[in-house]
């Protein structure tokens, strides 16, 4: 598989500045908006975490997982199972446990999939995710096709002290925002660590990395596990926010959406994943809210518009929004095309 180019791994100052301004805008947002949009942006930020987790595989390591939603959904289910019938579960141990569960599942599946490459990897990750999907979908004891309710949002009590309350939409918003920043900072550190450099090396030329003495399978498995765990963080937050989990969270559409987000924003630098997640979720919102024209309800057929958009994007701007931006910059340096 041709290695996707990470054209903006080192973010130019202008992008860094834009990110800072975006962060300030996000921090101020709940003050100027109502509950509805606060919730919507919370969801966008959760998706940004999910997209960043996939970018570690897709953009940095060059592994396109079409089953990443499995680990996203698993943590949501973990929250649903951990929450008792009549009282909330404690945030401080249920969150790490759910993330651990996703990471463990990713470790097990990763053991099988990281030995495969390119198109095989795409198909095998998808097949394993589908297996997990059907496991939950077909078993009523695991919620079946209807899914499970999370009756109470986790409580943040620590040694008898409760610093915040996730029942509040604004608190949930800021809790998510802090996690977005933390995950971004963490992944940027990983990107520039020796481990991250090795992953980037695997993307560019795995054979050469192995020839240099890197145990590439171990590196890929670690990346797969880490990405699965971080997807779990996003899945847990989704469960908290919606109070409900169903098999669709693990479905192949969800996985493909994550890929879309990463592509849309630009791969390999995590900032693109955030931008892509916001853009994709916003588009979904726009398509679903399209008006009724005559006897045709345009919003009901949002999948059609989404499909046309995806096909159009991949035909016209294959490297996403930031990629387009990067290409413009590159062409100034007369480097030109984004394709090998």
């Amino acid at each position: 598989m041709a290695a996707p180019k990470a054209n903006l791994e080192t973010l130019p100052r202008s992008v860094q500045l834009a990110l800072m301004m975006g962060l300030v805008a996000l921090a101020a947002f709940p003050f100027v908006s109502g509950d509805y949009y606060t919730e919507m942006v919370t969801r966008m930020m959760i998706m940004a975490i999910f997209a960043m987790s996939l970018d570690l595989l897709q953009g940095v390591t060059g592994l396109v997982s079409l089953g990443h939603a499995a680990y996203f959904g698993l943590a949501g289910y973990a929250l649903a199972f951990l929450t008792p019938e009549s009282e909330p579960v404690n945030l401080w141990w249920s969150l790490p446990l759910a993330v651990l569960a996703s990471g463990l599942a990713a470790l097990i599946v990763g053991f099988f999939v990281v030995r495969t490459r390119g198109i095989y990897f795409i198909m095998v990750t998808m097949a394993f995710a589908q297996m997990i999907y059907f496991l939950f979908h077909d078993n009523d004891s695991l919620g079946g096709s209807d899914g499970l309710y999370v009756n109470f949002k986790p409580i943040a009590t620590l040694f008898g002290w409760t610093p915040f309350d996730l029942d509040s939409k604004v608190t949930m918003y800021y809790f998510t925002l802090v996690l977005v920043v933390a995950v971004y900072a963490f992944l940027r550190c990983v990107l520039w660590s020796p481990f991250g450099r090795a992953l980037a090396g695997i993307r560019v030329n795995e054979h050469r990395m192995r020839a240099m003495g890197f145990g590439t399978v171990g590196y890929k498995l670690t990346a797969f596990t880490l990405a699965g765990a971080l997807a779990g963080l996003a899945g847990y937050l989704t469960g908290v926010q919606s109070g409900y989990v169903n098999p669709e969270l693990m479905g192949f559409h969800m996985s493909a959406h994550a890929i879309m987000m990463v592509i849309l924003g630009g791969m390999g630098n995590f900032a693109g994943a955030i931008v892509g997640a916001f853009a994709f979720e916003y588009l979904l919102h726009v398509f679903k809210e399209l008006p009724q024209v005559g006897s045709v309800d345009l919003g009901k057929h949002w999948q059609l518009w989404m499909g046309i958009f995806i096909v159009g994007l991949v035909v016209l701007a294959p490297r996403g929004l930031l990629g387009l931006f990067g290409r413009l910059r590159q062409s100034k340096n007369a480097k030109g095309d984004s394709h090998e």
Binding site: I119, Q130, Q303, V311, V314
Partner: protein, 287 residues
């Protein structure tokens, strides 16, 4: 399980396996020859099923519907290759994944607009609606034998086409080395178009003959696609022989799994896949 029951399950698994082969063969050919990953392959199966439903209603004959439906779907495949897929042969797999994922959305929604979201059925033709008695209490439907027959004929035809004809030779040459083949004066674009349409046609025929026994419903395409992936992964990408053996194996495991171990039946084929991956990460018959 007595002998008659065993025989019925065996025939069922072969029939299911052959049906999977029709789909997996197209998928693996399109991948092996054009290096294109096609997530929308399941949509062609769905297209076939819905065509069978509509056309057999219109013509009052399933056989005529299959004939017309095959022509329509091959034409559809040719048009799609020409308009879209042709431009993606040299793009990386990620772009192909995205393109075909977008197509899934478009096809699903068009299906919903054209045919609605209800579950439909297609009638088994009177000619084939009989059953062959095996014991006093058990019998085997002729229609399932007909399905297996169609698949076997097409499988043999595919084998002969690829390994014995001039066209097949060109196809294999093109898969082996595209530029070399082109420089020998063979029109590779034409061959790619033909192979793509062949894949679409096989998938649609599978959908059409399956319509009377599996009913016609939304999302039938994506469900079957995953199973096809399992078949292709087990068999090895690009190998038609591998696809046949893997499809029969998956048919066997799935059918007998449902009878003998119903609690875990849904997972058995994936466990099979995992086992094969441990043993041979590139599939059993990687070319």
């Amino acid at each position: 399980m007595d002998l008659a029951n065993f025989l019925i399950q065996l025939l069922n698994s072969v029939q299911y396996g052959l049906l999977l082969f029709m789909l997996a063969a197209g998928l693996t050919l399109i991948f092996g020859i054009m290096d294109v990953v096609n997530l929308a392959h399941g949509s062609f199966y769905m297209l076939g099923a819905y065509l069978a439903y509509s056309l057999s209603g219109a013509f009052d004959s399933l056989l005529l519907a299959i004939l017309v439906g095959t022509i329509l779907s091959v034409l559809f495949g040719l048009a799609l290759e020409r308009l879209l897929f042709r431009h993606f042969y040299d793009r990386d797999h990620l772009d192909q994944v995205l393109l075909t994922f977008g197509l899934i959305y478009i096809f699903e929604e068009l299906r919903s607009i054209l045919w609605g979201d209800d579950v439909h059925g297609a009638k088994i033709p009177d000619l084939l609606s009989a059953s062959i008695p095996l014991t006093e209490t058990m019998s085997y439907p002729v229609y399932r034998l007909f399905m297996s027959g169609v698949c076997i004929v097409l499988a043999i035809g595919l084998y002969l086409l690829i390994s014995k004809t001039r066209l097949g030779m060109k196809i294999r040459a093109g898969a082996f080395n595209r530029e070399m083949t082109e420089s020998l004066g063979i029109n590779i674009k034409l061959i790619h178009g033909a192979v793509f349409a062949l894949g679409v046609g096989l998938a649609a025929i599978a959908g059409m003959i399956a319509a009377p026994i599996s009913s016609v419903y939304p999302n039938m395409g994506s469900q079957v696609l995953i199973t096809c992936f399992v078949v292709v992964v087990i068999g090895g990408i690009g190998s038609v022989r591998g696809a046949l053996i893997a499809a029969l194996l998956v048919g066997l495991v799935d059918t007998f799994g449902k009878v003998l171990l119903p609690q875990v039946a849904g997972m058995l084929v994936y466990i099979l896949m995992a086992a094969v991956l441990l043993w041979k990460p590139e599939g059993m018959f990687k070319q």
